[in-house]
Amino acid sequence: MIHLPLLPVLVPLVAAILQLALHRAGPGLARGLGLASVALLALASALLLRATGDGGVIPVQLGNWPAPFGITFVADRLAATMVAVTTAVAIPALLAATDGTDRMGRHFHPFFQLQLAGLNGAFLTGDLFNLFVFFEVLLIASYGLLAHGGGPARARTGLHYVALNLAGSILFLFALGLLYGTLGTLNLADVAGRLATVPEADQPLVRTALALMLGVFAFKAAILPLGFWLPHAYAAASAPVAALYAVLTKVGIYAMLRLSATALAGTPWTADLLAPWLMPAALGTVVVATLGVLAARRLGPMVAHLLLLSTGMLAVGVAVGGPAMLAALLYYLPHTTLVSAALFLLVGRIVAWRGEAADRIEHGPRPPGAGWLAAAFLALAIAVTGLPPLSGFLGKVMMLAAAPATPTGYVIWGSFILSGFVGALAMARAASVLFWEPVGPLREAPPGPAGRARADLALALSLAFVPLLVLGAAPLSAHAQATAEQIAARRPYLEAVLPDGSAPVARERRP
């Protein structure tokens, strides 16, 4: 199956088209198509993980055009892992949306599938312009999803989110234009090869282009000075959408990691482009997000700040670099994405039955089934703040063990441990108010018993990953180790996309 890497993009794309074409057939069909699509995606991700598991890098040259000229898709361990994580988040999120959230507005399901297509495409593409296109696909879907359900809060934050992301896209375009103008290629592997041959006079231009691009990725990942949009946008989105958004920031982290490991690490004058400024920005993100968790008066912004905190920690990992830290990061990334998504689903489940109190951390009616919700809250709080015995603890220990023994390393230790402590404090405070001090009568569930059962099923499904991440820690961290080694080696990726036989074509066409 040589076209396997295309499947994670094509399946949701076809599903979205079918849902749009058949939207008159009723919402049931759209739901069915959506669930069938994510089930197929689960199969495709499993196949992709197996196909890349032996260390192979699978390139797909669309239309059989050779690499620097055609459109290239590349599946390696990292891309397969990211696709699998996306699918693992999408299944419970879509299931949770079928509790009635998907009927609060029009075209929820096509947007959801397009978002998946954009995410998977961004992970699998081997071309920087294609990365831009897939960013736009996932962004336009995310605009629609954010506004889903309506209301002034969503309209207001939605406008900010759209305007900021459009500005980011325009910066990305400038970076692409500059990079193409100087290197004459946008294929990532070809860019990596060409960086070595750039004449000294052109190096500042290329550095500018790459720095602009990294800045755009940092904006997508919501790293410090560019991250203040995230808590508002994520807190305003409906629960299933926010759960899917947990993957969205990881696209920025992934793109930074891919660009720096594949292209920037190869030449000395680009190798220092990322780490020097990413480290303080990432540590700042950790600090600000920690304060945000403590200051949040509503559950939505609190969880959004927890997500921001984990993104900051991942960015610290990218800034440190090196196989050991990357291995730790690649174990921590699936954990934090899955746990954040589960937290968003849990918040949605709690909020739906609290009436006027909504997600404010104050006394309100106890939601039905509070016992199991409280247990879920406890498990997720332990996982997200990195307390033993769950996967957050393992991931944090791996990252701290890989931190360098320098003053920066000590700052990393201090900020990670303090942020975990503060997070635990905030979660404990929120839980004691929510679950132990209920006032007022129970409110009857508005979405009906079927909706509640589906929301609970989705939550249980996303919670099931928490013990799996601990029980499967050994194979998962071995996989993360192998992935990190593959990224750090660089050669497998470059040689798979541009085999040695293909002679570099002269593209120097300066008038």
Partner: protein
């Protein structure tokens, strides 16, 4: 030629940045549109500014005696134009919806004077 194009792009960017920092969403939409024009022109210029260069490989180009125009930036810019056009249309629709939901076209909703 280079000077005119670069000055034009610079003017578009400057105007665009000024406009996206305004408080009315209409100005922000216009500013983003101007910025995307600037980005499109910039990509276009990335293919080198030349006149009368053939876009296809002819004998003279293959022999190295003539320069070929680079068709790829035009393809890139076409994609970028389509995307930015779609995004702008979406943003206008979104701004109109914000106007309907919050009762004003201030970027923070409402009339920008505390009423939301």
């Amino acid at each position: 030629m280079e000077l005119i194009v670069s000055a034009g792009i610079g003017a578009l960017v400057a105007t665009g940045i000024y406009l996206i920092l305004r408080e009315r969403s209409f100005s922000v939409v216009l500013g983003l549109t101007l910025l995307s024009y600037a980005a499109n022109l910039f990509i276009f210029a990335g293919g080198r500014l030349s006149a009368e260069a053939p876009p296809l490989v002819l004998d003279a180009v293959a022999a190295g005696t003539a320069l070929a125009a680079d068709p790829l930036p035009q393809a890139l810019v076409l994609t970028a134009i389509v995307i930015s056009f779609g995004m702008t249309a979406f943003l206008v629709a979104f701004a109109l919806r914000t106007l309907a939901e919050t009762g004003g076209d201030h970027v923070d909703g409402g009339d920008g004077e505390g009423r939301r």
